[in-house]
């Protein structure tokens, strides 16, 4: 197996995730796109871990998974709060800061 095939898969998933973050308005879908980005990073970390024969990548990938779980928990709580206050989860509606 080539190293590059995993890195390129990670790059494709990362760009799809970035596309989702830019294009989507629904906050839940933006969070899902962020999950795509974090997963592509994990694939890269594990590919380099296998290449170098070192367990560092595994450890870091575990930490990434834990932080992603925490992020989803707080993020969805915020989405819930937003829906309760303004009956919508559209990120375009949060425009109080606009001059």
């Amino acid at each position: 197996m080539l190293l590059n095939q995993f890195l390129m898969l990670g790059a494709v998933l990362f760009c799809i995730g970035v596309y989702g973050v830019i294009v989507r308005k629904n906050a839940v879908l933006v969070l899902m796109s962020i999950e795509l980005i974090l997963n592509s990073v994990n694939i890269n970390l594990l590919a380099f871990s296998l290449r170098n024969g070192s367990p560092d990548g595994h450890t870091f990938a575990l930490y990434v998974i834990a932080v992603a779980a925490a992020e989803v928990g707080v993020g969805l709580a915020m989405v819930l709060l937003m829906y309760r206050n303004r009956r919508s989860v559209g990120l375009d509606d949060l425009s109080e800061m606009k001059g």
Partner: protein, 170 residues
């Protein structure tokens, strides 16, 4: 050659799983239905777990299945159902100026692919290197990376308390 046969099987497996993952990811960012997006995300996350097994990281694969498919997806589906009046196709999921997303993503992808191609042309993953065992990973977490592990446990605690404080009705 027996060894190359094994590698061919791995490559075919990689290609199939990668194709499924890319299709699933594209459906996540293009579908018109939030629940469908969550279910396509399950496909991508399960494919990522399969890639972890191909990369000889079985502990990470099991963790991925438990944490993401088990916990995070349930959170997403709960979030969808608590914030949605309707379950079904919707028109209003994309931004007003969504058209700018495609060129940005394509440019980013082209840059990354060119850089990767220059950097690691046809470098092979070592087929006979000693595999990383779960014991090594745990030795690291509870050894040199102990302080980040503590910090991470505080992050999780703060996230749990924060989620409760944010989401409860008072």
């Amino acid at each position: 050659m027996l060894a190359s046969d094994v590698l061919v099987a791995q490559n075919v497996g990689f290609a199939i799983i990668a194709a499924i993952m890319v299709i699933g990811a594209l459906r996540v960012v293009t579908t018109k239905n939030v629940v469908h997006a969550a279910l396509w995300l399950v496909v991508v996350l399960a494919g990522a777990a399969a890639q972890y097994i191909l990369l000889a990281a079985e502990f990470l694969a099991v963790t991925q299945v438990m944490v993401y498919i088990g916990a995070v997806m349930v959170l997403f589906l709960f979030g969808t159902m608590l914030t949605r009046a309707q379950i079904g196709a919707e028109k209003d999921l994309n931004n007003k100026n969504a058209i700018i997303g495609l060129p940005i993503a394509v440019l980013l992808l082209a840059t990354m692919l060119i850089a990767l191609n220059d950097g690691f042309k046809a470098e092979k993953l070592p087929a006979d290197s000693p595999l990383v065992t779960t014991q090594q990973v745990s030795d690291q977490i509870f050894g040199i990376y102990l302080l980040p592990f503590w910090a991470l446990s505080f992050v999780l605690l703060a996230a749990a308390i924060g989620a409760i404080v944010l989401a409860r009705r008072d």
